[in-house]
């Protein structure tokens, strides 16, 4: 008999609370734009923060609230995802070139001599606040891998032998997480380029040429030969450092052939 009472009581209580909850839910209902959920489902869901928002949900809320898609871009999903969002919301999407992270430093031990050994906390951020680094160059890659842990997609690798960072372009989504994590701003986002052709100066050393040369044999000495040879005026020299403007560069690679220190990198054209 007891079991019957127990079941009856619980069923009665359950029904009672269900009714209360139903009315409460009706009373305090939050109206939400159904398009937010729709947009969110179209996004990659990596929550990487590459768009500048806290996550994909925050991005979706802002996209739906805004009038146009001009200021929004999901670097991970790229043009494809943006076009789908535009279709769902009935708006125009802006085409943007897909970006990829490039590491602007080639200072391995064979080029850049180590002068001391760092034994502090294994973080670039910590090392950068403490001193100028293990080599004579105080600008380049520290090699403790803050960018590796910042990458949500496993696209940054640290060579355990040379302590040089490399980007797996197949995995890189261009979110810019690694670029933000780098205290020396060695990593830059550049367009992937036509068939993967990118030409960039792989050095961030702003010391005078002689000092750079002394610290590293593959650094940019700011000689300006590249700027002279460039047919498109895409190269400027600032603070003893050449910079190739990717909006003007056509990827001919003349500068890379001219560079006396081989600081300019031209990636091979993918077949």
């Amino acid at each position: 008999m007891t079991i019957v009472y127990t079941i009856a009581c619980l069923v009665a209580l359950g029904l009672f609370f269900a009714v209360v909850l139903y009315f409460v839910a009706q009373k305090f209902k939050v109206e939400e734009d159904p398009r937010i959920g729709q947009v969110e489902s179209l996004l990659p869901g990596a929550n990487c923060g590459g768009c500048g928002n806290a996550g994909c949900r925050a991005f979706a809320e802002k996209v739906v609230a805004a009038d146009s898609l001009d200021d929004f871009f999901c670097p991970v999903g790229g043009n494809e995802v943006m076009a789908r969002i535009a279709g769902a919301l009935g708006r125009e999407a802006v085409e943007k070139e897909p970006m990829v992270a490039v590491v602007r430093c080639q200072g391995t031990a064979e080029h850049c001599q180590k002068l001391n050994r760092y034994d502090g906390a294994p973080s670039c951020r910590v090392a950068a606040t403490l001193y100028s680094g293990e080599t004579g160059c105080r600008w380049g890659c520290i090699g403790l891998g803050d960018c590796v842990s910042a990458c949500e997609f496993g696209g940054v690798h640290l060579d355990p032998r040379t302590h040089q960072v490399s980007i797996d372009t197949g995995l890189c989504t261009g979110c810019g997480g690694c670029a933000r994590a780098c205290p020396h701003h060695v990593i830059e986002l550049r367009p992937r380029g036509p068939r993967g052709r990118r030409v960039y100066v792989s050095c961030v050393n702003q010391d005078k040429g002689a000092l750079t040369r002394k610290a590293c044999t593959i650094g940019c000495i700011g000689c300006g030969k590249c700027a002279k040879v460039c047919p498109f005026e895409a190269i400027r020299i600032e603070n003893n450092l050449a910079y190739i403007d990717y909006t003007k560069c056509k990827g001919c690679g003349k500068c890379a052939a001219e560079c006396p220190t081989h600081a300019i990198v031209a990636t091979p054209i993918e077949k």
């Binding site: 906390a121 403490l130 001193y131 100028s132 105080r138």
Partner: protein, 443 residues
């Protein structure tokens, strides 16, 4: 009864190896490179040109800005270059490089060992002399002394506290000046008391320096208003806020200045420099530097001209031993590792410490076991484990709520952590971020 501060602190082995080594004068190097950024605040502006002849004690750079200090030549010779050179951390800082020729001093500097006890200058004249002599706090922070001795309007100093604690392990330079020159230090205290208009001065010395306590007690009897306070050995007793708490039992409020408690703290080395500047016309051109380490064959206390390369100091103790792994400027707790041995000494340099791999190696980092040792050790009553987490996650607003700006970067948390977590390294970064945000908010 022995006094000490109330919250936190750690007890590292004091390792005062060079306690019994008499002070020696380091031979002059061939060239000195004098940094223009030897003090907290704006770097000084050089007023000499390449090729100029300078004498010892001659002004070579003027202060630029309110918080700044002049710089004087520590040697006589020819200015060879004015250029940026790497400091001990490898970052370029403007330096004046002087080639040493002989040792000719400015004629007005009194180089006799005679004690000058009478002083008729007014408070303003004293402050002007201290400012002209380029004196900065020699306890480590190198804050210009004349600013510290002129309290901001509305605040009144009640007491002067001399810091003779030397709580960092290994360091013995303050110990030696207190033993060798107690009268001069006491006179320096008298001068600063007059500048501040206070009648009372406490000299805090830790119990592990009995000779210094005795010498300073005898000197204190000769001069009025001075009292030597024997303190328990505990790190970081030499911190300004900790010393005020230990001696007069008052707490500096969060975000406040020591003057809010009515106390002005000066290092004993600064007191000696003040005496020399005011009574002997000698600007701050040399300081006492301990060269020490278990792996060194000899332990030395050198009187060193400012601008001497660290490599010269190491040469004077027979070079760098084979098993040396790290060379530190300052003590093991708060000192900075020297990555560039051609860097030169500055006004606030206190020691060169050579450590072996075994002594300097960090424990392998493990997970936090929530033991709370860091919170117990923090002399500012902060929660280092929490600040570390917040700094790692980059949350400046929450760090501000947790009062990260109170951190004095003493390193007690890191020293005490059984899991080897680099607490201070991350907290220091977070603190810098928070301070930047707070400053921009003020503007």
């Amino acid at each position: 009864m022995k006094k000490t501060f109330a919250i936190g602190g750690v007890h590292p082995h004091d390792s005062k190896l060079s306690r019994q080594s008499a002070v020696e004068e380091l031979p002059l190097p061939e060239t000195v490179a004098i940094s223009m950024a030897q003090h907290l605040g704006a770097p000084a502006t050089p007023i000499v040109a390449v090729g100029d002849k300078v004498l010892v004690g001659q002004l070579i750079a003027e202060p630029s800005g309110f918080v700044s200090a002049p710089v004087h030549s520590s040697v006589s010779g020819t200015v060879k270059a004015i250029e940026p050179r790497a400091d001990l951390a490898g970052n370029p800082v403007p330096h004046v490089v002087i080639e040493v020729e002989g040792d000719a001093w400015l004629p007005e500097i009194d180089r006799t060992p005679n004690f000058v006890g009478d002083m008729t200058l007014s408070a303003e004249q004293i402050l002007a002399r201290i400012k002209e002599a380029g004196i900065v706090g020699l306890g480590g922070a190198a804050f210009p002394t004349h600013i510290k001795l002129s309290p901001p309007p509305g605040k009144k100093a009640e007491v002067l506290i001399l810091n003779g604690t030397e709580c960092e392990p290994y360091l013995t330079s303050d110990d030696h000046i207190m033993r060798d020159r107690p009268d001069e230090i006491a006179m320096g205290a008298q001068i600063m008391m007059k500048a501040l208009g206070v009648g009372r001065c406490y000299i805090g010395i830790e119990e592990n320096k009995p000779e210094a306590i005795k010498a300073m007690r005898i000197a204190a009897i000769r001069f009025g208003g001075l009292e030597v306070v024997r303190l328990k050995k505990k790190y970081p007793q030499g911190g300004e806020k900790q010393l005020i708490d230990a001696i007069i039992g008052r707490r500096v409020p969060s975000l406040g200045l020591p003057i809010d408690t009515g106390a002005v703290v000066q290092n004993v080395g600064t007191a000696l420099a003040v005496y020399e500047a005011v009574q002997k016309h000698k600007p701050l051109i040399d300081n006492m530097i301990t060269v020490t380490g278990r792996c060194l064959p000899v332990q030395k206390n050198f009187l060193v001209r400012i601008g001497t390369p660290f490599s010269k100091l190491l040469e004077a103790v027979g070079g760098i031993p084979e098993n040396a792994a790290k060379i530190i400027s300052g003590g093991p707790m708060m000192g900075k590792a020297i990555s560039n041995l051609e860097a030169t000494t500055v006004k606030a340099s206190s020691a060169v410490l050579v450590l072996t791999e075994k002594e300097t190696k960090r424990r392998p980092e493990g997970p936090c076991i929530r033991c709370g040792k860091c919170a117990d050790a923090c002399p500012m009553g902060l929660q280092p484990f929490l600040l570390y987490k917040l700094a790692k996650m980059n949350r400046p607003d929450e760090m501000e709520q947790e009062k990260v700006f109170d951190c004095i970067e003493c390193g007690c948390c890191l020293y005490t952590c059984p899991a080897g977590i680099p607490l201070l390294d991350l907290i220091r970064i977070g603190k810098a971020d928070v301070m930047k945000i707070m400053r921009s908010r003020k503007k």
